[in-house]
Symmetry: C2
Subunit: 128 residues, 2 copies
């Protein structure tokens, strides 16, 4: 499993369509995306989407995976930001929390805003 799989998965989950996610968000071909999602499901050993002629829909496993996948991607961004900021000694740390099960689409954006507004603070993620 690579971060590419997580990025692809989140895009498909948010659009509900392989075609739309591939063309409008990932700028890749739809068959390639289909294969990557299948590979991810094989590795996780769980069906993450249920397919239909109208698109794809998250399964219970997919919903569970989505929350963690978003957190993982946010954590990677946090890693990069923290490393870049470490040159200038950070003054304070700040943790952004959320409740499992809630919609956390806003989380990456919230982290971005906080970092822009408070460049000296080390903003990280916290699940509970």
């Amino acid at each position: 499993m690579e971060l590419r799989h997580l990025r692809y998965f989140v895009a498909v989950a948010e659009t509900g369509s392989l075609t739309i996610a591939a063309e409008q968000r990932l700028h890749t071909s739809q068959p390639s995306l289909s294969r990557q999602i299948r590979d991810l499901e094989d590795e996780v050993r769980a069906e993450l989407f249920s397919r239909s002629a109208r698109g794809v829909e998250l399964t219970a496993s997919g919903k569970a995976f989505l929350d963690h996948a978003r957190l993982a991607l946010a954590q990677v961004d946090a890693a990069t930001e923290a490393a870049r900021r470490a040159a200038q000694p950070a003054k304070q740390a700040f943790a952004l929390g959320f409740q499992t099960g809630e919609e956390i689409t806003w989380l990456p954006r919230a982290m971005q805003i906080l970092r822009d507004e408070l460049p000296d603070i080390d903003v990280t993620v916290s699940s509970s």
Copy 2:
């Protein structure tokens, strides 16, 4: 950036040596590992290690990156576990916390133990 970069980085950070990490932990060649670490540093735009004739040592940026990288990898594991467990409805959720700056080498192992002992509980990570 891909998860491979994070896995490689953590292995090098923990062994303090490209050679040992490559041969004993990653089972890859040392030059290939050197290149991947360099690529990671290029993408993060920060020096993560200081090289010497005795091995490599984490810089301040590297230390900051390490905590977040471990968290991200743990979160990916949590994603897989949560997806697999979602077939059987989870009963309770449990968050494992830590303090930034402390050593969190134990965290992945602690999560594994808790999951083995409490298979019905959804164990996640929490930084603060």
